[in-house]
């Protein structure tokens, strides 16, 4: 299969869905001629024009709110929030409006809406441009939370998100955009929301991760193999709905679990996953579920500093060895 970049997978998914369905459109800051600050909407403006690729003012609350209104009035918006850090500005519209409208209206309002954004530590973007905030979004009933780690997942899940009749927040990772991988060309290729993926099989320990941490976990697993440790790497892909079944099957097989996320530890989604594993597979666990996470600090600017506060393959290996 041909290999394309993660960011190309994103723009391909958008292009295909925009061709398939005239009500699908893209809006956000610099998504037009500029193609998005990470070039994930590159070429869409040229192909679909300003009426379907809307450059917005710097108005995160109105971007999400207007997307919601347009969804209520017959469109399928894909709104971009440039950095997940800026979802903080649109949190009323995300949490109180988009996520709750279907429920609050007794099921009347149907909201086929995607908020695309990206997060994670880059190369020195500092505390306000480096966060991993999925724990906030996963704590909002009514919202779906998708975080793909590979180009193929990015394409398949974005297409599924666009076709979903619920609000979806789709969180990319800034350090994944240039990663390449095989991606199907089939127009109807989709990955169902809510299905985790076993990215690597193993018997000794289950590593549960999402987004960029899947890449780091796979690297750690390769190293661990050399030491005779077979790690299974479960890529959640979707935090909400969560594929508890796949998690539990793996846990029951290996009896040992490391959860890895880039977000800071306290209140991160890892706690939820760990608690669910305890609730549902307590008797299978041979060791406490270990969390390998970002430290509880804002992300610092300088390279040695930010490297010191987010997980890497070495941290993951240590985490695995701790519970073996």
């Amino acid at each position: 299969m041909r290999e394309i970049k993660y960011r190309e997978a994103i723009s391909e998914a958008l292009r295909e869905e925009m061709i398939r369905d005239k009500t699908v459109f893209v809006m956000g800051e610099d998504v037009g001629q500029f193609g998005g600050v990470f070039q994930a909407t590159a070429t869409l403006y040229k192909d679909f024009g300003a009426s379907r690729v809307l450059d917005t003012p710097i108005s995160e609350a109105a971007i999400v709110g207007a997307a919601l209104g347009s969804a209520l009035a017959g469109l399928r918006p894909v709104a971009e929030i440039m950095f997940v850090d800026f979802t903080s500005i649109a949190m009323d519209q995300i949490a109180n409006q988009c996520a709750k409208f279907h429920f609050m209206t007794g099921g009347q309002a149907i909201i086929p809406l995607v908020i695309r954004t990206q997060g994670g530590v880059g190369i020195g973007d500092a505390a306000q441009h480096s966060q991993s905030l999925e724990a906030w979004h996963a704590h909002i009933p009514g919202l779906k939370v998708v975080m793909p780690s590979t180009p193929a997942d990015a394409k398949g899940l974005l297409k599924a998100s666009i076709r979903d009749d619920n609000p979806v927040i789709f969180i990319e990772h800034k350090m994944l955009y240039l990663n390449e991988g095989p991606v199907p060309e089939d127009d109807d290729y989709m990955i169902p929301i809510g299905k985790a993926d076993i990215k690597r099989e193993g018997e000794d320990v289950t590593i549960i991760a999402w987004s960029k941490m899947v890449v780091d976990s796979l690297e750690a697993a390769d190293d661990l193999e050399k030491e005779g440790i077979q790690a299974e790497v479960v890529d959640l892909r979707t935090l909400n709905p969560l594929d508890l079944e796949t998690i539990l099957t793996s846990v029951k097989k290996t009896s040992r679990v490391v959860i890895v996320h880039e977000a800071c530890k306290t209140g991160g989604f890892g706690g939820e996953v760990a608690a669910l594993i305890m609730e549902n597979a307590f008797d299978y666990l041979d060791a406490p579920v270990e969390r390998v996470t970002g430290l509880d600090t804002p992300i610092p600017y300088a390279e040695p500093l930010y490297r010191a506060v987010i997980p890497n393959p070495d941290w993951i290996k240590k985490g695995v060895k701790k519970i073996l």
């Binding site: 109105a62 207007a66 009035a73 009323d92 279907h102 009933p141």
Partner: protein, 326 residues
Amino acid sequence: MQATKQEKIDLYRLMYRIRTFEEQSFVSFNKGLTHGVLHLCIGQEASAAGCIYDLKKEDYLATTHRGHGHVIAKGADLKRMFAELLGKETGYCRGRGGSMHIADMEIGILGANGIVGGGVPIAVGAGLAIKYRGLNRVALSFFGDATLNTGAFHEAANLASIWKLPVVFVCENNLYGISVSIKKACALDTLANRSAGYNIPGVCVDGNDVMAVREAANEAVERARNGEGPSFIECQTYRHMGHFTADDGKYRPDEEVKYWKEERDPIKNFAKQLLDDKEVTQGGLDSIHDEVKTEIEQAFKFAEESEPGHVDDLLEGVYNQPAANQ
């Protein structure tokens, strides 16, 4: 703008229906049948009636915590409204939403809203969809004076302006946001002047004069339908009661309340004008009143007799399930 006699009678009936609905809601609240917070629009009926009377079913509106009047004017079913206030399965939101979240997607009511400012971007988004889809519709955004100070209003107004969306912003200036006088919260004498900051034409009208409101609204709606972009209307009005049902409104001077209730009541004054102009007789008014009261009674009875919102499928309603998509 010329208005027919029938239109005037309709407008009167509409305002009276809104008020009677609100009065019944209040009775119901005091009986403990409706809980939560209830923000009544008694005193503000003219702006709802005047702005919405001429809209089409397929036009959109988004409103606020004080939205009963707008929803009624847009044609909502009073039975389902009361049922919602009483938390019944037959309510607009099956008892999930209550007063602050009444919506009727079939007739373009994109919801009341519990977040001040929250509905303004939503109305603008509907305007965007209208333009995108090439429809001949309009989206009305209702909000109070105090909402003008929210970031959401600002961002949404700017968006409507730059994209020339078919949106009409209706600011119901009832002089207060809860207890805070708009004089303390905004340094403008005329709130409509804020719209100049977005290059949106703004007018200020007597919000208790239903004909004046109607005229201003219809001009704005026409601009919108003609692709000339958004407009802003400040309706100067007053709420007769407290901010919500538990508020006695004592932060307002007694004479001020008295003035607005006695001299500026939109319904009383319109009745007087209709009588003076011989558009209607007292008997005519009385029978309108009787008809409306009966309607309200029946609607409320329907609500009372309906079964409570179902508990068993509560969680199924959090997400739209695939089966519901078809």
